[in-house]
Symmetry: C2
Subunit: 242 residues, 2 copies
DNA sequence: TGAATAGTGTCTCTAAGACATTATTAT
DNA sequence: ATAATAATGTCTTAGAGACACTATTCA
């Protein structure tokens, strides 16, 4: 049988119907704590609950493109750090039908995150409480940025968010993801504060500086931060490692 | 609108047709080198090329269950280490139709891997050459276990295999995956040989032993290996960390 | 006893934590 | 000068690499 003949005879429905979606964990830092952007579900199922922004994957669209489109449509964002996390395929994770969802992690610098909360129609920033440490992970909870009790998340989105936190923590000190949470130019203190916010711990200053400067990721700009009432710190720029 | 009404009105085809598959990277150690189990594609598309064993995901089947079923059907294997790797969604990765594939990594101890090559109908072990080091990764090549030139892999399976090697290397020394490549009872030397095979480097013996024994993963069995013509080494058992 | 590998002692070196000290700027 | 934070020096400690040495078993 030729390939053409095979393709003509191939039945796409032989294995039943199943939809593929993406859900995006759009994270940033807010007042020294990790935060995530949620939407309020206005329609059933689970209307009223908070959810991660998401959408179905088009037949002529890659997974990365679908995640980028969701960010564009729901948050007006483009050109931000975006990486695939994990694919969630529990049978009843969505009551509508069988929906398998590819989870993505997107990261924004603090200023852009705050701006997105104002500009993105319906985007609600929520602070993430992470009650665990270590590589085993565990559940996290979310609260409205302006305090208040814990929020309920729709579907399995609490699991997705918990995995996002675990991955982010795990990658933080051996990869360059941390820089995606900072503006183009930043001080070493800001970099440390980002790490401390994500890890939920305080870090030793000299050791942190040594570690960061020993990697060849930081390029001094020669410019110092303006507007301080004390010795102005050097501004650095992230340089992709060779 | 109630949830029931919503579900009744929901159109599963609104976003077009797309199939979901799993592809399994079944790895083991062979003569001190990483190896993978491949199948020869007998039908189009790409008949004749080697491929990872895979299959479509059933509508009432989780992703993990689909990967486990593929291992059962194509290799006669069950109860082995199985973890999700990444989801591949390039538009034209399969010429038949849009097929998104969730890649899984499965690991077998050396003896079980060799046995599977004999028992699994059509399973062909291939040795993996990994020409890179470090966390950036890169392409790998495969050769037939009995030497010979490099083999061509179908679809994007070379990318999937390369990612599997990168992940395995990355997780090896901070997680317990290494033990999935060993029998229930093993010597410290065997454990080191597994690490050396996967990492493609030689390791310092005292440092390796110290590191492994300092984690609380190894439980001495009190039994020593039999059949040696020299001092018989202690056999250890893997104990899940608390 | 010799061969072969198991298993350990120890020195060095690197990197992190802790803490203190010096440096630099605005007011 | 003072206040405030930037930036660094240094001591200690933990862990890895290197290498040699001792231990144990079989033939």
């Amino acid at each position: 049988m030729s390939e053409d003949a095979f393709l003509a005879a191939y039945d796409p429905d032989a294995y039943g119907r199943l939809a593929l979606a993406v859900d995006v964990v759009l994270m940033g830092i807010r007042d020294g704590r990790p935060a995530v952007m949620l939407v309020r579900r206005e329609e059933p199922p689970q209307a009223g609950l908070r959810a991660l922004p998401g959408g179905f994957v088009g037949v002529t669209e890659t997974l990365d493109a679908a995640a980028a489109r969701v960010l564009r449509e729901k948050a007006g964002l483009s050109d931000l750090h975006l990486e695939q996390l994990y694919t969630f395929g529990a049978i009843d994770r969505d009551p509508r039908m069988r929906i398998v969802s590819v989870a993505y992690l997107a990261l924004l610098p603090e200023a852009a995150f705050t701006a997105a909360a104002r500009n993105g129609a319906g985007l609600l920033p929520a602070v993430i409480d992470v009650p665990w440490a270590g590589e085993a992970g565990g559940p996290v909870t979310v609260r409205d940025a302006g305090e208040g009790g814990p929020l309920a998340l729709a579907f399995d989105h609490a699991d997705i968010l918990a995995l996002a936190m675990l991955r982010l923590r795990g990658k933080l000190d051996y990869s360059a993801v941390g820089f995606a949470l900072l503006p183009e130019r930043f001080t070493l203190r800001q970099l440390q504060e980002v790490h401390e916010a994500i890890l939920g711990t305080s870090l030793n200053k000299p050791a942190f500086r040594r570690r960061m400067l020993d990697r060849s990721w930081l390029e001094p700009t020669g410019v110092r931060e303006a507007g301080t009432s004390f010795r102005p710190p050097e501004l650095y720029r992230f340089r992709r490692p060779r």
